[in-house]
C-alpha cells in the first residue's frame, strides 16, 4: 500500500548539544536510568529526531505534542488493538495466554483496547459511569474514604509513613473497590494484581516474572469471575452488576448483551486502570511537595479556592503524567512528521515527552497552574481512546490534595532524593516507595 502522510507538519529540527547527541544515539527507554530520569532523552528526541526508533525496545517513539495529537486522532491507521494485544507480554505471549486459559478461567482480551467500530460500542457502554457530573455526586463519599485513610495513617503515630504504599495505593483501591462493589480489606492483593497486569505492557518482563505475574492475574480473574457469577444471580447497585447485565447498542439500533469474556475484561480493566495510575498521580503529589521548593505553600493556597485547585491538579498531571507512554501499531506504512514508519510497527505515544514539549508549554519544567492551555496536555491521552476515568482521577487527586493539607503539615522526604526508585516499566513513571515524615495538623 502506498505511503500516506498524516496531518502533522514537519517540525524544525533543533541542533543538539553533545550530551543530547550521545543520549539520542545510545539511550533507550529499556534502560532503567532513562526510565527513572527520562527528560533529557525525551528532549533530544523532540529536537533532533521526533519520531525516533528505539532499537533496543523495537518501538517508534512519538515525542512531540502535536504529533501525539495527530496520531491519537487517527485510530484506524494507528491501531490500539494491535498495539496492545500483539505486544502484550512481549515475546512470551503464547505461554502467557495458555497459562490464563489453564489456571485463570480463560484468556480474556481487553475489549476496550480495540479499534472502531467495535471500540465505539464498548466505549459508549462505559461512558455514563464516569461523567464529570456523576463523579461530582461521588465527591462526598470519596472525601470520607480519603479522610479516613489519612486519619488512620496519622493515628498509627510516629509521624512517618510511606506516601506511596500507605496512602496513594490503598486510597485509590478503596475508591474503585467501592464503585465496582468488590470486597474491602484486599488492598495488598489488589495492589499486587495491578502490578501484574500493568507489567504486561512494561516491556521489561523476564520469563520468570511473566509466570509470577500470570499467576497473580489468574488469581485476580478467578476472584472477579466469582463476583460476577454472584451478580448474575442477584443484581446489586454496583458497576459489576451493571457490566454483567450490560447491553451494547449496535449502529442499527439493535441491542446485544456483552459476552461474559468481554464483561470480565471490562471489570478487570476498570479495577486496574482505576487504581494504579491515579495512585501514581497521588504519590507524585507527595513527591512534588517534598522536592520542589514552594510547592507545599502553593498547594496550601490552592485548596482554599476551587478554581485554583482544579488548575493545580491539571498542571500536576501535565508536569508529572503518571502514564509515560501507551502503544499503537501501524495498520499501513505511514509518514508522521517526515518519518516513514512501516506497516505493523509498534509505536509509543510518549505522553511524558508531549507534556514537556516547549512548543506547546513554554518553560515546561516550571509548575504554572495559570497556563491558558492546560486542557491540551496528554496525560490522559486523547482522541477516541482518551482515558475514560479522567473525571474520577481528577476528583481523587483533588480530594487527596485537600485532605493532605487539612490533616498534615511540614511534610518532608525521609530519605535522600537520589535513593528513590521507580517501577521498571516503559508504560508509567511510578515511584516504588516514598518515605516521608510529617506533623499532624490540628483541626
Amino acid at each position: 500500500m502506498a505511503t500516506q502522510t498524516i496531518e502533522s507538519k514537519v517540525s524544525e529540527r533543533v541542533p543538539l548539544t553533545p550530551e543530547e547527541e550521545k543520549v539520542l544515539k545510545e539511550g533507550s527507554l529499556t534502560d532503567y536510568e532513562i526510565q527513572a530520569h527520562p527528560r533529557e532523552y525525551f528532549r533530544a528526541m523532540r529536537h533532533g529526531d521526533p519520531i525516533h526508533y528505539d532499537e533496543k525496545l523495537g518501538s517508534w517513539l512519538v515525542t512531540r505534542h502535536e504529533d501525539i495529537w495527530a496520531v491519537q486522532s487517527d485510530p484506524v491507521t494507528f491501531s490500539v488493538h494491535h498495539g496492545y494485544h500483539d505486544f502484550q507480554a512481549r515475546g512470551l505471549q503464547d505461554e502467557f495466554r495458555a497459562y490464563l486459559r489453564e489456571h485463570g478461567g480463560g484468556y480474556f482480551p481487553d475489549a476496550i483496547m480495540s479499534d472502531p467500530p467495535y471500540h465505539t460500542r464498548i466505549r459508549k457502554l462505559m461512558e455514563n459511569a464516569f461523567t464529570a457530573h456523576r463523579v461530582k455526586e461521588l465527591e462526598p463519599r470519596i472525601t470520607e474514604v480519603v479522610h479516613d485513610l489519612i486519619a488512620e495513617v496519622i493515628e498509627r503515630g510516629d509521624g512517618k509513613c510511606d506516601a506511596v504504599k500507605d496512602i496513594a495505593i490503598p486510597l485509590t483501591i478503596r475508591v474503585i473497590v467501592e464503585q465496582l462493589g468488590l470486597d474491602h480489606g484486599m488492598e495488598d492483593k489488589i495492589s499486587r494484581w495491578s502490578v501484574a497486569v500493568t507489567a504486561q505492557i512494561s516491556a521489561m518482563q523476564s520469563r520468570e516474572t511473566m509466570l509470577e505475574n500470570a499467576k497473580e492475574i489468574a488469581d485476580l480473574q478467578n476472584y472477579l469471575i466469582g463476583k460476577m457469577k454472584e451478580r448474575e444471580q442477584e443484581r446489586k447497585e454496583d458497576m459489576i452488576s451493571d457490566l454483567v447485565h450490560a447491553e451494547v447498542t449496535n449502529e442499527d439500533g439493535t441491542k446485544e448483551k456483552l459476552t461474559f469474556e468481554e464483561a470480565v475484561s471490562l471489570v478487570r480493566a476498570t479495577l486496574i486502570a482505576g487504581n494504579d495510575t491515579t495512585a501514581t498521580a497521588i504519590g507524585n503529589l507527595f513527591y512534588v511537595i517534598t522536592t520542589k521548593p514552594g510547592m507545599a505553600e502553593m498547594l496550601e493556597e490552592a485548596v482554599q479556592d476551587e478554581r485554583k485547585l482544579n488548575r493545580f491538579v491539571e498542571e500536576h498531571l501535565r508536569n508529572e503524567p503518571p502514564v509515560r507512554a501507551l502503544s499503537r501499531a501501524t495498520t499501513r506504512e505511514v509518514t508522521v512528521n517526515g518519518t516513514t514508519i512501516p506497516e505493523g510497527a509498534h509505536m509509543l505515544l510518549v505522553y511524558g515527552s508531549g507534556n514537556d514539549d516547549e512548543t506547546e508549554y513554554p518553560e515546561p519544567r516550571k509548575f504554572d497552574p495559570t497556563r491558558p492551555n492546560l486542557g491540551r496536555h496528554v496525560a490522559f491521552g486523547g482522541g477516541p481512546h482518551r482515558c475514560i476515568g479522567l473525571a474520577l482521577a481528577r476528583m481523587e487527586i483533588k480530594v487527596a490534595a485537600r485532605e493532605i493539607v487539612k490533616q498534615m503539615k511540614n511534610i518532608k522526604l525521609a530519605v535522600p532524593q537520589e535513593e528513590l526508585r521507580y517501577v521498571p516499566t516503559v508504560a508509567t513513571r511510578t515511584l516504588e516507595s516514598l518515605p516521608i515524615t510529617y506533623e499532624k495538623r490540628e483541626g
Partner: protein, 111 residues
C-alpha cells in the same frame, strides 16, 4: 427523525445547517455524527475534556444559558480560546426552545 434546526460553523469556517435534529441530541453528538470539523467529543459527553467547545451565537445566549460550575472548570482549561459565550457542545441538548440555534466551533488551544 426530528425537526429541530441547528446551524454550525466548523473550525475551517464552513457553515452547515441541520434541519432534522431530534430533541435530546447534544450538539457534540450532532457534530460528531455529521463530521463537523473541530468537534471531537473525546470523553463521550461526560463534560470532562473540552473537545466539543462551541461559541453560542450572541442572540441565542440567553436561551442556552450559562455553563454550570463543572462545565466552567473544563472551559477554564482552554482559557486561551474561551469567550463569554463559550459552552461545551455535550452539555447543550436540543429542545424546541433551541430550534434554530446557531453556534461556531471553537478552535483548539494554540500551537
Amino acid at each position: 427523525m426530528g425537526n429541530l434546526k441547528v446551524t454550525m460553523t466548523d473550525v475551517n469556517g464552513e457553515t452547515r445547517t441541520f434541519e432534522d435534529v431530534e430533541e435530546g441530541v447534544s450538539l457534540m453528538e450532532l457534530g460528531k455524527q455529521n463530521g463537523v470539523a473541530g468537534i471531537m467529543g473525546d470523553c463521550g459527553g461526560g463534560c470532562a475534556c473540552a473537545t466539543c467547545h462551541v461559541y453560542v451565537d450572541q442572540n441565542w445566549w440567553d436561551k442556552v444559558g450559562e455553563p454550570d460550575d463543572i462545565e466552567f472548570a473544563m472551559l477554564d482549561m482552554v482559557a486561551d480560546v474561551m469567550k463569554d459565550t463559550s459552552r461545551l457542545g455535550c452539555q447543550i441538548k436540543m429542545s424546541p426552545e433551541l430550534d434554530g440555534l446557531t453556534v461556531t466551533v471553537a478552535p483548539s488551544s494554540s500551537y
